[in-house]
């Protein structure tokens, strides 16, 4: 079976500005695939390139094995759900859902039948005759999904559709989107700047920064095994300490830093003398650590109790702030306490310092 979407050397430039640089990617059929990145990173441009609103400056987009060059958005087997949903306000809910079928010349009775089924699927059976403006945010969301699914696309593209909803509804819709995707079994390509959304829903995630796909992998991989400093700091919280590699041995490396000699994993094969960044997750840091782990001294600045966890902000010798997250509230230090912070070398991660730093 051909891949759902293949990007091959896709570049999109607007004048001098490079919005997407050399995107190479294969998205499998039935996959829930997310593009995660800060705003302006090129993820929406890439989505619009897949849907056909933008032609790539260089490279090719293949959908279902077929080169899409010259195919407009109305000719591609994709359906796009817009960030603001873009429902048609002058049509009823049922007319909205049936619009794609109507332009395809599907006879009325067949159309009505299909719209009815879709209304059942998205649990809006009673609302078909209503105006779009009479629906709640979550209901509108489901109309947009039904409208896109009506044309039976092989790929559904979603451009941050949950960003306008409140937190509770957003969490609910995550589960619902995932369930709909499982049910219809088509490829979902999801754009978001919210890592929580990407991590909970996706089979795989592509993390993008400044037009470049930095890493592709499942949620666990981009969180636990980031391969670039950007991914390490964008996905989840991370502490970052700069230094120079002193020695390497057996997948680990020691790093000379202003905070002392620290040690971490060395997955990218740094060699002694290389400038590097050490990343340690807040939850991997232990307070009042004994000598068996690597670590450094710090002074607590702020203790924020959040129920299940407590965030402790420390200032280290260089003036840099380091965050540690400890479970519950027990054993939390008081402010201005000097203590030693430690971590296991396996929880430290060394990555090359990017050229621009």
């Amino acid at each position: 079976m051909a891949a759902a979407v293949e990007l091959e050397g896709v570049n999109v430039t607007f004048g001098e500005f490079v919005a997407v640089r050399d995107a190479n990617l294969t998205i499998e059929p039935g996959e829930f695939f997310s593009f995660l990145g800060p705003s302006g990173c090129g993820k929406t441009t890439l989505l619009r390139t897949i849907s056909g609103f933008i032609e790539p400056t260089r490279g090719s987009v293949r959908i279902g094995g077929e080169d899409m060059k010259g195919f407009g958005p109305n000719k591609r087997p994709t359906a796009l759900i817009f960030q603001n949903l873009a429902l048609f306000p002058m049509m009823s809910v049922a007319e909205n859902i049936g619009y794609g079928l109507r332009v395809r010349g599907v006879p009325r009775h067949e159309r009505d039948e299909k719209v009815k089924n879709l209304l059942i699927q998205v649990a809006l059976t009673e609302h078909g005759h209503k105006k779009v403006s009479e629906l709640s945010g979550g209901q509108k969301q489901r109309v947009a999904i039904a409208r896109a699914l009506a044309v039976e696309p092989s790929v559904l593209l979603l451009d941050e559709p949950l960003s306008a909803l409140d937190l509770k509804l957003r969490q609910h819709m995550r589960a619902e989107l995932r369930a709909i995707q499982k049910r219809v079994g088509i490829t979902f390509i999801y754009i978001t700047h919210d890592q929580g959304e990407a991590l909970t829903m996706s089979d795989r995630i592509a993390v993008m920064n400044a037009g470049v796909i930095e890493q592709v992998g499942d949620g666990r991989a981009v969180y636990a095994e980031p391969r670039t400093p950007f991914v390490a700091s964008f996905v989840g919280e991370n502490n970052r300490i700069r230094g120079r590699v002193a020695s390497v041995e057996d997948g680990f490396a020691t790093l000379e830093t202003p905070l002392g000699i620290l040690k971490g994993r060395n997955p990218v094969g740094l060699t002694p003398g290389a400038e590097a960044l050490l990343f340690v997750r807040p939850e991997s840091l232990a307070l009042r650590a004994n000598g068996s782990t690597v670590g450094f001294e710090g002074e607590t600045l702020d203790v924020a109790y959040e129920g299940s966890v407590t965030h402790v902000t420390l200032r280290v010798r260089t003036g840099q702030k380091i965050t540690a997250t400890i479970g519950g509230g027990a054993g939390a230090p008081s402010s201005n306490e000097n203590l030693r912070v430690g971590f296991e070398p396996k929880d430290g991660l060394l990555l090359a310092l990017p050229a621009s730093h």
Binding site: G52, P89, V103
Partner: protein, 335 residues
């Protein structure tokens, strides 16, 4: 004496009628909102009442009522006005239908024809105007860059600094038998002898279409401009061809603008005087010059008033019918 009462009392009736309509539509001040003067302050509040009141009564209602009243009176020498012969009569309207103040034997075909031709031609000009303006307005509203938009607006507005009469005569020169259009046509060998554009009313339709172009463009532009671009893209993404998007997404959204542009152009076309007089061919019978003649050639003001009033009523009925068919409310036009 009677007419004085009518003229003084009718405005009161109109004011009360408008107040009642406002109450029924629920736009009157509700108890929970601060009062009119509290919201605006008394100087502005007073100014608004006086200005709007003056405008509504002295500029719109009173002259209209005076003309309507006049249209139901016979033509009399000044000395007999208000005398025993000054009674209400339908003779002016009878003249429009039958060409005589008393007899009803023959229909007044010339005037009736001119009347319906004017309305029909105005509909055509309105449609033509819409066809010309819609693509332009769409381009300006949805796809033009800011730079292009400024240039287009300038190109649209600047020609209107030229006054109506000058433009009409220029068209006349352009389209005359020895004019540049005929010379070009003959020079290219397309015609062997000059074509009389003016007799064929080409000049008239051109002049009228051009005169009200802006009144069509701007409401259309405003309406289309407020359409969310994503809706157009969503329709395209769902497979809609371009004409389907225009017919079922853009136009329904722009309906108030379309209605407002079309009513403006239609009303002003039927009421245009100068352009038909200058650009009309020798056999052209536009209705407004006939009305004009009642006033200034025959000095029969009551008859002129009756003719003008008929045209106004016909236009209002027509516009309201169209609004009814398209399902628009009068208030939506102003959105």
């Amino acid at each position: 004496m009677r007419s004085i009462y009518v003229i003084l009392l009718l405005p009161l009736v109109v004011v009360i009628a408008f107040w009642l309509i406002a109450r029924v539509e629920g736009t009157g001040t509700s108890a929970s909102r601060p009062g009119f003067f509290q919201r605006n302050g008394w100087p502005i509040g007073l100014y608004l009442i006086i200005a709007v009141g003056f405008w509504a009564l002295f500029i719109i209602v009173l002259p209209m009522i005076y003309m309507v009243d006049l249209s139901f009176r016979p033509k009399l020498p000044l000395s007999q006005m208000g005398g025993p012969k000054d009674v209400y009569t339908l003779q002016n309207y009878r003249y429009f239908l039958f060409g005589s103040l008393t007899s009803t034997a023959h229909w007044n075909w010339i005037h009736i024809n001119a009347f319906f031709t004017t309305i029909f031609a105005s509909i055509l000009i309105t449609l033509l105007n819409f066809a010309i303006c819609y693509p332009l307005a769409y381009h300006m509203a949805q796809s033009a860059t800011a730079e292009r938009l400024r240039v287009l607006l300038l190109l649209l507005i600047v020609p209107y600094w030229v006054n109506d009469i000058l433009r009409a005569f220029a068209f006349r020169v352009l389209l005359s038998s020895g004019g540049i259009v005929n010379q070009a046509l003959m020079g290219l060998g397309l015609t062997s002898e000059p074509f009389d554009f003016l007799a064929a009313d080409v000049g008239l339709y051109m002049g009228l279409s051009y005169a009200y172009l802006l009144l069509m463009i701007f409401p259309l532009y405003n309406a289309i401009e407020s359409l969310d671009r994503n809706q157009i893209e969503a329709a395209r993404d769902l497979g809609a061809p371009w004409w389907h998007i225009h017919a079922f997404i853009v136009m329904p959204h722009a309906k108030p603008g379309i209605a407002s542009g079309c009513t403006l152009v239609f009303m002003l076309c039927t009421g245009a005087v100068a352009t038909p007089m200058v650009l009309g061919g020798p056999r052209t019978m536009w209705f407004t010059p006939i009305v004009y003649d009642r006033f200034y050639q025959l000095f029969n003001w009551p008859q002129g008033a009756a003719y003008a009033f008929l045209l106004l009523v016909a236009c209002i009925v027509f516009v309201l019918t169209v609004l009814r068919i398209t399902g628009l409310k009068l208030g939506e036009i102003t959105r």
